[in-house]
Symmetry: C2
Subunit: 504 residues, 2 copies
Amino acid sequence: MINQEKKLVELKNKLSEINDLEMSGALLNWDQSTYMPSGGAKARGRQMATLAKIAQEKLIDPAIGKLLDDLRPYEESLPYDSDDASLIRIARLDYERAIRVPPEFMLEYNLHSSDSYQTWAQARPENDFKKVQPYLEKTLELSRKYSDFFPGYEHIADPLIDVSDYGMKALTIRKLFKELRDQLVPIVNTITSQPPTDSSFLHKIYPEAQQLRFAEKVVRTLGYDFNRGRIDKTHHPFMTKFSLGDVRITTRVKEDYFGETIFSNIHESGHAMYEQGINLDYEATPLGTGTSSGVHESQSRTWENLVGRSREFWIYFFPFLKEEFPEQLRGITLEQFYRGINKVERSLIRTDADEVTYNLHVMLRFDLELALLEGKLSVRDLPEAWNDRYASDLNIKPTNDRDGVMQDVHWYGGFIGGAFQGYTLGNILSAQFYAAALKAHPQIPAEIKTGKFTQLHEWLNKNLYQYGRKFTADEIVKKATGSPLTINPYIQYLKTKYGELYDL
Amino acid sequence: MINQEKKLVELKNKLSEINDLEMSGALLNWDQSTYMPSGGAKARGRQMATLAKIAQEKLIDPAIGKLLDDLRPYEESLPYDSDDASLIRIARLDYERAIRVPPEFMLEYNLHSSDSYQTWAQARPENDFKKVQPYLEKTLELSRKYSDFFPGYEHIADPLIDVSDYGMKALTIRKLFKELRDQLVPIVNTITSQPPTDSSFLHKIYPEAQQLRFAEKVVRTLGYDFNRGRIDKTHHPFMTKFSLGDVRITTRVKEDYFGETIFSNIHESGHAMYEQGINLDYEATPLGTGTSSGVHESQSRTWENLVGRSREFWIYFFPFLKEEFPEQLRGITLEQFYRGINKVERSLIRTDADEVTYNLHVMLRFDLELALLEGKLSVRDLPEAWNDRYASDLNIKPTNDRDGVMQDVHWYGGFIGGAFQGYTLGNILSAQFYAAALKAHPQIPAEIKTGKFTQLHEWLNKNLYQYGRKFTADEIVKKATGSPLTINPYIQYLKTKYGELYDL
């Protein structure tokens, strides 16, 4: 066994080196989005590509395969959920996926993605879908080719979905999403036929420095650890990580809309608190990150929506908010504020959508991805298909592609397939995890009213965050909630919350 | 020849990859000094070590040696100063130096340096030389060992000096420094026997934001390009580079001393303008950086002292300064200000020293380095030797080791040998280059009076900056000034300037 332990150390050293390269790449990317002067852009792209290439070369090193083979008896001698067995298991998963894809393909794909992204960034403001169409066609071809490196799939999207939501199948998700859509569309119709909620007070001028100060105070109170993180400004908010001791978020401000900074800050800090909660022993190993995009999104949405848009939350924070913005909120009651931040309306832009309509945006993208991959929809016909689905699902039709099919970066800088399902899976899971937390600690809402988030945060740390990638999404959902993934808690949550806000 | 050009491309690709790793490491270091939360420290050290290790492995790859051998006929077919021949020549120099040193030695050295640095950082505030002594002894041993990988040296310090000031020899520098010291000591004695200059107005309260704004305006006017750079705050100011398009400087503020931010900003922007001036074709090649620590320092000191502490400079900037700080400078004339910022006094701390005494600090360190390496001085006796030299050279005796032998990081985080000579070589060279620029463009001082720095900046770009490492220090000094390195212009400069300020 001593020999096995030596081999495990050897494996960990190799994996740590790969992790160091990936985390360095993440810092280069963070700097590019925050502080890099424009003159640095060209070299920065090359530098990030170099780090990614070396990390990839090191991951597919046959020496890793050999170590994984040699370690199989050791792994099998250990309990499934031991740290060592899990490390070997997850490392093998990554290795076996990586070696299926030829390096030349990755090179071609990376170069193409970069070109495609540049073209999109230019074409979107010009509303010029024709310009991106050939890139998207090539992306579709490359996405299909990627899947074909994993023969034996049930649906051609499955290998692409596996990358971010390991173990989820296209056909399962399609069925799940249909169920959800069938429930959501009538709710949206009922709500939007009622008089619109007044949220005009959210659109007064809220000065940047004050918004940033308030949002920072909020996420600090929620439990985002500033000794292991920080907030900087970027064009699009995101969470990024350079180690378990350095998990950063970024934010942006719209002075004429109060909701932007606060909710994106809470959202990103939800992602960050997940990463900050991971067992520190997993640092620089494949276990040291969130387990899937769906589970990750469940945490950003838990904190943003289930907590951050709850009445209890604002019972505590609204007085502080009024202190910070007395003019802007003069005469606005807690109840008006609560209704304002939970206003439901049909809209064109996914990232601006409310809780109820948001999933309709996501699910139509998912369906279009599948149709493209199945060959049932051509890229040329994509804008029309997009607009039709907005008309049928959301009863609103885009008048241009900029705010239509070109609004999200995902297809223009990555694969088609696997890009969107995580958002809705996350919403579904957020309610399922939260219901389990409430069952264990029914006093959580009462605590939140007093600005305490400890019980919730501790439950999440204990039942979810600490494990990192040790368990798959499927495994952790069952372990933490006692049930496989189900949409019932989510539907229940929406019906209760919005049934009280609107006439359902 | 087509085959040779293919090999050159191959070599460039390999060198670019190494450069990408080094520049990524520099960004990790910059982030550590500027924005990294404390929790990131542990992983960051490991990540920087990983990048350095991989870069080193790639540099000593025998495939590079093979390419360099294969490219010799091509190199010899080209003019010495052609870009391709220079690239091959400098790459060979780096390669041949790197392969002499066994990777295990570098590993041991890097681990030791890191421990030694940590110990110093703790021991210095505690004024505890005993704590660092064993580390310093080991550093001395490793420094000697490093030199012994380069047998045939004239002096054991030569291989260490070669790393930063390629081609300079310990015995040459020792002679040069003795000459300089013999001239400086009487000047310092004469000046410091006269009544001290009043500079108390520099020690009023100058608020941080205003100091930063003013210093930024100044370096922008000098020609530091903010599209290819930026300024952030750090504990110790430095210049760092991530590509020729991204050359950053850092600064710090002492609100009770006006001289700190402004002169360190000008100093670092001098380093940065050198890097920003390098031929962009040299990006990601061994040619794309300054040629030696002495030449680099000559540029920081040119801008800081020959320009930034000149009367002409303040003829232009003093009115703006008075506008920014009317209270602090009420009643202070340009002449008083000029004398204040050029006040000469005996002091203990190198980095706080004025132009005249500064080199005495540097040269005594250089002599002590040589004595340690030669075995004529033991580490145990170093503090006493240090204090004795301060007494004899500067007529002031340190009362503790914190502000004595432990004040500089260099010996505690790097080799003993090669650490200090660049500072004084830089001062000497700054005057030699500047004299050549003035000879070519006698109107430079008149231009500076009007806030124009174009002629000077262009002369430096054309005669020095653009070449990067294409020419060695020796070569570029002769090429740009028509003479080998000489202390005469520097002595002339000091005597003229300080002869006017004091009774010499």
